[in-house]
Each structure stands twice: as structure tokens, then as C-alpha cells.
Amino acid sequence: MKINVNGTAHQIEVEEDMPLLWVLRDELRLTGTKFGCGGGFCGACTIHLDGQPMRACLTPVSLAKGKQITTIEGLSENGDHPLQQAWIEHNVPQCGYCQSGQLMSAAALLAHNASPSDGEIDQAMTGNLCRCGTYPRIRSAIKTAAVKSATFENAAAREGEN
């Protein structure tokens, strides 16, 4: 079976029903995507499938065939996605374990909604548990990143007009 992860094609020999989570972690050693619950309750394994946030623990690998899979390792080339920068600026992580999933959910939110309201942030992020309790900082960091992204986009748009 062939799958495409972070722009790279991989040939894998696994059962069709194996969740993408274990393909990523055990077969491809992309361990940034975390195992939290195996039941879609915690969001630690959130990845993007053609840009849509998905729980990798509930996604059979067969569903990912022919689609673009993005994991935390591929969110940005140099770890400088506006959200990653904002996460550092707000010193968000504590233990850090859930943060890959939090970032992937937040990235999907901002990709569809450049300036989410508090309610929209809560709605998009409520599937991602954090036991350490970083929710307030995640909220602040998403807002910071939204402002930065908007600034970049506006700058890019102006450049385009010129």
C-alpha cells in the first residue's frame, strides 16, 4: 500500500484496518502523533487528511490512500508555523504530550477561519484534552497566531496587488 505523508510517498505492508496512528508511529516512526485514548476522545492523535483534522486512532489506513496526510512533523518545514511560534511565545506546553494534537486542530481551524471568536476556538478545540491544563494559553496563542497569519496574508495580498 502507498500513502503520502508530509509530501513523501511511503510504501507500507500493513493490514487495511490498521489505524493510521499505528502506521505513523510504529511503521514510519513519526511519533509526533500521540496515542492518548484510541477512541477519538482526546485528540492527541489529530492529523490532517487533505487538510481536514482527523483522529488518526480511528482512521483506518485504507481511508488515507490517495490523500495527503499531514502530521505535526510536516506542519511547517522549520517549526515556524505561526501557531508553533505563538505556542513558544505563550510558553503553552507543560508536559507537551497533547500539544501535537492541539496544534493540528488549531491549524485546521485557522486554515478555515482566519480570525476565530472565543466560541469558535472553544468549539474547534473542545475535542482536544489537556490534563496539565494549558487551555487558557492555547486560546491566547491561537489568537496571537491568527493576528500574525492575518498580517502575513494582508502583506502577501498587498504584494500581489503591487
Binding site: 500493513v14 493490514e15 490498521m18 489505524p19 499505528w22 508511529r25 510504529d26 511503521e27 516512526r29 513519526l30 511519533t31 509526533g32 502523533t33 500521540k34 496515542f35 492518548g36 485514548c37 484510541g38 477512541g39 476522545f41 482526546c42 492527541a44 502530521t71 505535526i72 512533523e73 506542519l75 517549526g79 508553533q84 505556542w87 513558544i88 510558553n91 503553552v92 506546553p93 507543560q94 508536559c95 507537551g96 504530550y97 497533547c98 500539544q99 501535537s100 496544534l103 476556538i121 472553544d122 468549539q123 478545540m125 473542545t126 475535542g127 482536544n128 484534552l129 489537556c130 490534563r131 496539565c132 491544563g133 494549558t134 487551555y135 487558557p136 494559553r137 492555547i138 486560546r139
Partner: protein, 747 residues
Amino acid sequence: MSDRSVENIDRRRFLKLTGLSAGGLVLGATLPGWQPSWAAGLDKGGELNLFVSIDGDDTVSIVCHRSEMGQGIRTGLPQVVADELEADWQKVKVVQGLGDKRYGSQNTDGSRSVRRFYDTMRRMGASARTMLERAAAERWNVPAKECAARNHVIIHIPTDRRLGFGELAAAAAKQAVPDEKDLRLKDSAQFNYIGKPVDTVDTPDMVTGRANYGQDVHLDNMLIASIERAPVLGSGIAKLDDSAARKVRGLVAVERLDGGAEPPLFKPLSGVAVLAHNTWTALKARKLLNIEWTESPHEQHDSDDYLETLKDNVRQTGKTAVAEGDVDIALETASRQHSAIYTLPYLAHATMEPPSATAVVGEEGCEIWSCVQDPQSVQQHVGQALGLPPEKVKVNVTFLGGGFGRKSKPDFVVEAALLAKKMQRPVKVVWSREDDIRHDYYHAASAAYFQAGLDEHGKVDGWLQRTAFPSIGGTFQPGVDHPANFELDLGLTDLPFAIANRRTETQQADYHARIGWLRSVSNIQNAFGVCSFADELAHINGRRPDEFLLDLIGPDRKIDPSQGDYKYGNYGETLEKFPIDTARLKNVLRRTAARADFDTDGGEGWGIAVHRSFLSYVGIATRVQVRDEQLKILQMHCVADVGLAVNPDRVKSQMEGAMIFGMSLALMGEIKMQNGAVANSNFHDYPLLRMHQCPSLTVELVASGEPPAGVGEPGVPPVAPSITNAIFAASGQRIRELPINKHLKIG
């Protein structure tokens, strides 16, 4: 082990080991060449030194010997060393220490890391600085007192000549170890990093998926084990049919683990391990196991019935732990009496990363990679299980995806070691979420009875507190059936109230499930009772809760709860260094109350609670709304006096986390046991607070010159009572049985 052993090492071994360093300055002992495979970027190629080493290229490597589980200790302790050393933080590399008793205690538990090692780390930094200064003085042929370290260089003050740390490292390494009395510690006004919000060193790795946790370990030729464990404590395998499981493609082996007799200690539970080349295969095959379990003395255990029993028990006179005055007379002669019973259910740690451990066992010994809070305990217990001395068990500590006390119990590491020995190849044990929820070392279910006698002016003259919960002691000793004194010291016997007549009693609570310590331990139930009952007394008297509490605490003083044979533990510290200081408690109370508006109405209300634990003082003020049987927490404010805050931002983040941890347990935390087995299984039936339920949180740190005290835990205990006190203020409903979602819907 106290940090004294570090001092001993420091005196004995300081700079005896220069030959082992690559020409650099080495402080303390040198460890064998064990490099955690995940400690990427470590260019010393196998030379890990006890706490400080300096390379010719100016890099200062500082070992963090405590486990990182979100508290920021890999930043906090190195920050202290770097400050005294006058190192440039940008040139500091943090190296994770292996399990080794020469570090002193590595048990990352009890909110101890900074308070126990602050002084040691300062001395380590100052010693290294002194040696660099002396080396520079020799090079320039000037008196050492004319030389001073400033930001990674030594300066000869009169001539402004300068030498970098890297240039001096080899020469400094040949210096004699300074006597402790010759060390000049900085004045706090000179601190560069201590007390400053230094960036957390691991954040960049955590936001890019590069940080490696126990679950992320991979070794060549490794098998993954998933274990079906006995659902009831004390039960073993009666019959195993693994024929269906063995048909699963990719399955390698099915192995039995024998839990042995109680007490549970840190032994594995009885179970059947399914080993495969990948996690999915192991999980799938495990579901096909057909196991009959032996009978257990605990199979009638039902947590609801148990709590009723505990409630009955605390209504009866119990064993006196400590008493002052005569509470019986005080209660008899009181103009008014009030009593209440509070209960809390069992709780699970539910770290976001389920436990996981990887082991290899060979002729030389055993090597472990795991997310553990106490690598030396791993050495001890894995060693016992394999028949090896502790030093033959090499423990690499990965990042911990949360700890909260769960990962200081190394049962899961022993499982991996036993399986690796059987299989003669590397084995990673992967706990699922269900395993984690069903086989934890639970926070004890509890009931507590409080009775107060008030005089005609509403002054409290007598206070009786009687508690029943299964003791942590039962995990280690058979037959323990009452709470232990060390569990009473966490919020009951250290009651900071000026009440002449009082008594603390315990009542029977039998042991039916593995009990362990969970973030702030019995402070959770003890503070819930004390802070709720004090609030009830305030309302009975028609007083504002904060004003009543100030009277209850009484004059400024330092309390020693020890009485006769009863010795108060004080979290392992002396009362001289860390007194129970009512002035600090009242200061926190006043500042907490200043955030609350006790006249709020319209279905809204404020509640407060203050509590000293782990030598720190924390107050929580909570605003709630109660409408149509629905609760919404609108706002929460924390005031914390933790003494000196080495990294104020991480202290704040710990308090934020404690508020959320406290909300989870207060609102929805409940492990249920039926027929001896845990009925919950995952986050749908053991829910945690989610973002949309999280109110706006603020934290206020009290500026303090007092020694650094505990941070990770003391934020938790006052959260639950501040919420239930707020609910009473908002609605008149007094919630005495947690979790709150038994009584109100959670909005």
C-alpha cells in the same frame, strides 16, 4: 535519600575526575558512558557528568536529574546552576540524568525538586565559577579575588582582561575543589535568571513533535506488548485459552505475568501479555484472549456501597491521632453545634500519556527507557524482579506525558523488564487508556465527619475532624485499615485555626484497590472538608466567609502541630525553615478575598478557599453561575505564596494547571468499582475538563524572599471547596459529595 549525599559526593569527588573529561571542567562524579538515545545534540559522546561540565567550545552542560513532566524542571534547576555560574543561558545545554543514587533523590514527587535542590544547585554553580576564577587568576598571575565571572567570561577587574569559560575549562578542571565555606553565593539582587521568566528549554521540541516520551521509544528488533490484566485486585489466571489470539497474523508470543500475593507494592498485576511486531496487532490479538480469573477477596467491592460504609464509620468515634484541649466538653457546652460529612470518590491520574516502558535484558544487566518519576525506584524494583543489583539496571528517563504521581509507581516498568527477559529481545509495554483507567493506583475514596461547637458569640470553641479512607500504606503492608498519620499531616493535623479544643480521629477503611498518591494526595479530601466546613460555619454565623476565616485563623503565629508522641511531618522539612505561618496564610486569604464580590446575586456567587500544602500557601476565588440546575464556572483566581519563585512563568503555569486539575476532579472526577473491578474505561466515562468548560483563569504570585517551597501540587486542594462554596453562595445548595455532576449539570 536527602540531598546530603550530593554534598558528600561534592566534597569527595569534586574535580577528582578531570582525566575523564575531554579537557573540560567537571563537577561532581562522572557517570559511565550511557547516553539516552533521545538526548540528541549531546556532543560529549558518552561522558555525562554529575551536574556541570564545560567544553572547550564554551558549551556548559548541566544535568537535570529530576524528571520532566510539565513542571519545567529541566529549565528551573539548570537555571539556578547557570545563574550562580554566571553562564550565558544561550550556551547552556540541559542533559537528562540517568537513574543513579549519586545524584541524591531523583524521586520527582511531593513538589520537592526546587525546594530540595535549590541550595545544592547554587553551590554546584558557585563551585564551578570559583574554579574558573582561580584558573584565570593563575593564568594571569594575579590574586583570585581580583577575578570575577560575568556572563560566560572571567574578567580581571583591575585590567579588564578577559578569558572565556571554554578557554579556561581545562585549567579550571585541575583546580582543587573549593571548600563550601569559601563559596560566595550571589546576593539575590545579582540574579540573572533566578526569579526571571527564562524560556522553557523543551518547548521548541514539544511543538514540533520531536520530544520523545516513553510511548515513543523504538529499538531495533523490538516487540510491543499489550497486557490483559486481572480486573480485580488479588485475582490471578485460572484458565487461559489463547488459541484465537495465536491465529492473528503477526503475533509473536503470549506470556503470563504472575502478580503474586498482596500487598500490591510496585509488582505487576497478574495478566496475559500479547507480544507482536506492532501495537495494532498486539491490541487486536489481546481482544481474542479468553481468560478465566481466580476468585479474589475483593470481588464484592462496590465503590458506592463502600462510600456508604465509610460514612457510617465516620459517624462513630474513631482512633485519636492527635488532640488538644478537651473537644468533648467544648462540644457539650457549646451554645450551638454544627456537623457535616463530606465524601469524595476514587480518582484516577489519567496522564495524557498512558504508562509505557521499554526494556532490554542481557548478560550485563538491564536497560530501561521509560517515562518515570523515580528512576532509582525503577533500578530497585526491576533489579528485585530480575535478581540484579540496582546498579545493573540502567534507566534512561524520557519525557513524561504527565505524571501526577502515577509514574512514580514502576509496576509498568517491571512488566517490560520481565517480558524482555523472557523474550530475550527488546520489549515495549504499551498501556492503553483502558489499562490506565482500570489499573491505576487510585486516589482514595473518602468520607470525613466534621463537628464544631460555637459559643454564644459564634466563636468556634471545639473542632472535631474524623476521616476514613483506604491508606496508601495498604499498598505496601497487609492489614492497613485506617488512614496513616502522614496522610493526616496533609491538611488535617496542621489545621491553622486558633481553636482551643480539637481532635483529629481516623476510622476504619478497608483496602480493596491499589491506592496511590495523586497530585496533592490527601490534601484533596482534607482541604475539601476543612475549607467547606469553615464556610458552612461562616454562613451559620451570618458572617462574610473571608472575615470569619480571618478570625478562625486568629493572630499571626507559627504553629507546631506536634503533640506528645505525635510528630508532624511538614513535608519532610523543618518547621524552622518552613514554618506554618498564619501571617502568610492570612495575607493570601486577604488577597484572594479581594478578588471576590461576596454580595453578588442573581444566580451568581463567589466562593473562596485557602490552604497550606507542600509548604506553600494558595488561595482560590471562584465565581459561578447556577441556573436551572446547571453550573457554569465563570472565573477563577489564584493567589500563591510559594516563597521564591525560581521561574515565575512556570509557577503560574503550574497554578493554571492545578486549577484545571482541581476543576476536573471537583466537577466530574469519579472512578466507580463494581464487583471489585473498575467500571470506567476511557475519557467518555472518566471525563476531564475540556476547553469550553474552562473559565478565565488568573494567577497572582506573592513576592517573597522566603525559601522556595512546593509548586506542582499546592494549587490543587483549595479548588474544589472554592467551587462548592461558590455554589452555596449562588444557590444556597451545599454540595458535600463530590463530584459536583452528581448534583448539577455542568455547563
